[in-house]
């Protein structure tokens, strides 16, 4: 009687765990394990489940909802790491030595035992540093879960943002970066270091409140949130009263702002300082100070001589001038995208394509852009609103409420696939946040979505049964709250030749994973599916089916065939707002 033996086994195991099983019972338990393979299977399942429970029962949800003490809840190594990282008991000292100071926990225990053996070895430091790095990833994962539950969110992120950045990149026009220096995107925080422009214009806002427009070719060394050093090129600074005291250094010369607008140009050791409004103080290397008031300009020669010169405000691009250039750039980027999009519509590999370009705002139909046209591929917008897309010239679709979605029906059978879309995520509210989900999730049907942990998720359904359902390919977390409201390009390829799934963010490979042979499906299909949510009318738990994205989508394309890394990169480049 296999069933009753399983039942008996469950009870015996439970008592054994509780420490209340007698010798006869233990003997019986061992016999059952020896004799019955089903019992062995159940044992493995139960024990691994028990391990998962102990590792993860405290993932933030339970403690937050019950109000039980977190400290008692800690028993997984990850959890301990996380706790230590969050509470700041793991310090990454600036001299590169990482120390742990907390008591009664695994991490330290582990570390202590090791340092006994590896005493003085640099390896132990490295070990801690590497562990620490891993912990940050782990704790980000967990904190995403906690943010969902706890009211006080994003504390960790706020701390990180201020510690890494002293300024923000707010606008970039036609920028090419100096090859030796880092590249940035609009919205990126800037740490201390060099911003090197080969050409183009960057608007940088310092956390103190000063705004700098840097015209390439130029090199600006950011030293702190109130001090920058212009190594070469031209900048214009606008400094509101709140940011008074902002300084730009050129060699030994310090230009200290007293609430104003000024320009500096550095050329072969010579610095020209132009004051357009208010006044600035020049601190010379010899200790002398000189006040320069609005409407005046001075030249500081390489020799150290300071002379009055002619004011040329037009030479320095101001905020208004930049506005025009931004508008022009937007128009030309939009046109570049449009041209690319027109080609894409004719690509024979495109299964379906929603450019969201030609639609009118009031229409509830999402027209397929594929050429030759096929009206059957048009999607139906349910609930979701039309909003401005990447450019004011075109629309996007916003998913906000639990019911918002776009319904599509895609016939046919395929092999390799590529998914790509532009998406602006406001927040990840659901366990699963849909990009594209097939309705019933039968054999060969893909699911493409984002977990609340910020991980991109792709799977193709294989079949029913334990461990046989599908193989999930999860990227590392790519999203956090600081990226909220930014347009991102996401893509995933499913290559049946190499049995590989690859995730991409903004044209760069995020993660690649080979699918085990036993979980691999060669033939793919879609049928009825939903963009931005999940429609599963047969599912009894209606609450689970809420997978609406909280954010907007602008352009969605599905190919048969796996695009190359280069092609994905091109989709990103041609579509960048």
């Amino acid at each position: 009687m296999a069933l009753s033996e399983i039942e008996e086994f469950e009870r015996l195991l439970f008592d054994w765990e509780d420490g209340t099983l007698d010798t006869t019972g233990i003997g019986r338990l061992r016999d059952l394990l020896r004799q019955n393979p089903e019992v062995r299977q159940r044992y493995v399942e139960r024990q691994v489940f028990g391990a998962v429970l102990r590792l993860d029962a405290d993932a933030g949800i339970s403690a937050a909802t019950t109000g039980l003490s977190e400290t008692a809840a800690v028993c997984s190594p990850e959890r301990l790491h996380e706790t230590l990282t969050l509470t700041g008991t793991i310090d990454d000292k600036s001299d590169g030595i990482t120390t742990l100071h907390d008591s009664g926990n695994v991490v330290e225990g582990w570390n202590r035992r090791h340092t006994g053996i590896l005493l003085g070895a640099a390896a132990s430091i490295l070990l801690c540093v590497a562990l620490g790095r891993w912990l940050v990833v782990e704790s980000r994962l967990k904190s995403a879960v906690q943010n969902r539950v706890l009211a006080g969110t994003g504390q960790l992120e706020k701390q990180e943002a201020t510690s890494v950045g002293i300024a923000l990149v707010t606008r970039l026009v036609d920028v090419t970066w100096q090859e030796s220096e880092k590249q940035f995107m609009v919205g990126d925080p800037l740490p201390a270091g060099v911003v090197g422009l080969e050409s183009g214009v960057a608007q940088i806002e310092f956390f103190c409140g000063a705004t700098v427009i840097l015209e390439g070719p130029a090199r600006l060394m950011l030293e702190s949130s109130t001090v920058a050093r212009l190594q070469s090129g031209r900048l214009r600074a606008q400094v509101p009263p709140a940011a008074r005291g902002f300084q730009v250094h050129v060699d030994q010369l310090k230009v200290v702002d007293l609430g104003t607008e000024f320009g500096i140009e550095v050329n072969e050791g010579q610095a020209d300082v132009h004051v357009f409004d208010g006044e600035v103080e020049l601190h010379q290397p010899n200790g002398e100070q000189r006040l320069v008031v609005a409407g005046n300009a001075v030249t500081h020669a390489a020799s150290g001589v300071l002379e009055t010169s002619k004011l040329t405000p037009d030479k320095f691009l101001g905020l208004e001038g930049l506005d025009d250039r931004v508008r022009n750039q937007k128009q030309s980027r939009y046109e570049r995208w449009l041209e690319h999009s027109m080609e894409l519509r004719k690509d024979p590999r495109v299964i379906t394509y929603y450019s969201m370009e030609q639609d009118r705002y009031w229409k509830r139909k999402l027209a397929s852009s594929v050429i030759p046209g096929n009206r059957d591929l048009d999607g139906a917008i349910v609930g979701a609103k039309r909003v401005v897309g990447r450019w004011p010239q075109k629309s996007g679709i916003e998913f906000k409420r639990p019911g918002d979605r776009v319904r599509v029906n895609i016939p046919g059978q395929f092999g390799s696939l590529t998914f790509a879309c532009w998406v602006k995520i406001d927040s990840l509210d659901r366990w699963y946040n849909s990009l594209f989900l097939t309705d019933s999730y039968q054999r060969g049907e893909p699911h493409w979505q984002i977990l609340d942990t910020g991980q991109l998720f792709f799977s193709v359904r294989l079949g029913e049964g334990r461990g046989k359902g599908h193989h999930k390919v999860l990227s590392p977390p790519f999203w956090n709250a600081s990226m909220s409201g930014r347009w991102l390009h996401l893509a995933t390829t499913y290559d049946v030749e190499t049995k590989t799934t690859t995730h991409f963010l903004n044209g760069e490979k995020l993660h690649e994973e080979r699918i085990p042979d036993e979980l691999f499906v060669e033939q793919t299909r879609f049928g009825k599916a939903t963009i931005g949510n999940w429609s599963s009318p047969t599912r009894p738990e209606a609450d689970f089916a809420i997978r609406n994205l909280n954010g907007s989508m602008d352009e969605f394309v599905l190919f048969h065939g796996a695009l190359t890394n280069h092609e994905i990169r091109n989709l990103f480049v041609q579509g960048s707002p």
Binding site: E17, V44, R46, S62, T66, L68, A73, L126
Partner: protein
């Protein structure tokens, strides 16, 4: 790869497989604090043997192989009185368990969802049993309920959660 890079890579692999090591060892020993001890011992051995690890070879099977030896040593030292599994059963169950812990991360995601659906009282019960390793009798006392009632409730709860987890793992 330089030595530093190699060490760094090794540590990263080691850190990443902590969950699976714990999963395997806990499954074999069934008792939390002893499992933690063996995890520590295994980490130590892995660290000492890191020169043996061939670059490019899969890390997890190698680490689990060493964990198996550590479990067997522990079972041998502690004897039948303290361990449920003897070395024969450890050998018989290892392969299956190693396969099962491969899915540990997906299981964690799935279980997380199942846990969030539970009412407060049930979460509390899980909390006492699995975080604090409190004996059933004490949980019953703390909750003002009868021991056998708590036992039945916990058994059922564990089954419900395990089923829910399996179900969610099948869902995309």
């Amino acid at each position: 790869m330089s030595d530093t890079e190699q060490t760094e890579f090794f540590v990263q692999q080691l850190a990443e497989c902590q969950g699976r090591l714990f999963g395997y060892i806990y499954s074999m020993l069934g008792e939390h604090s002893r499992a933690m001890d063996v995890v520590q011992e295994t980490n130590l051995v892995l660290w000492r043997k890191k020169e043996d690890f061939r670059e490019g070879a899969p890390f997890v099977p190698w680490a689990l192989g060493i964990a198996r030896f550590q479990v067997l040593a522990h079972v041998r030292d502690q004897g039948r009185d303290r361990c449920l599994l003897d070395s024969e059963l450890v050998a018989a169950l290892s392969l299956q368990t190693e396969q099962q812990v491969d899915q540990l991360e997906s299981m964690r995601i799935a279980l997380r969802q199942c846990m969030s659906d539970l009412p407060r009282e049930k979460i509390e019960m899980i909390h006492l049993r699995y975080y604090r390793s409190m004996p059933i009798a004490e949980i019953a006392k703390a909750m003002g309920r009868r021991t056998d009632a708590v036992k039945v409730a916990l058994l059922r709860l564990r089954r419900v959660l395990a089923d829910c987890m399996q179900r969610r793992m099948l869902e995309g």
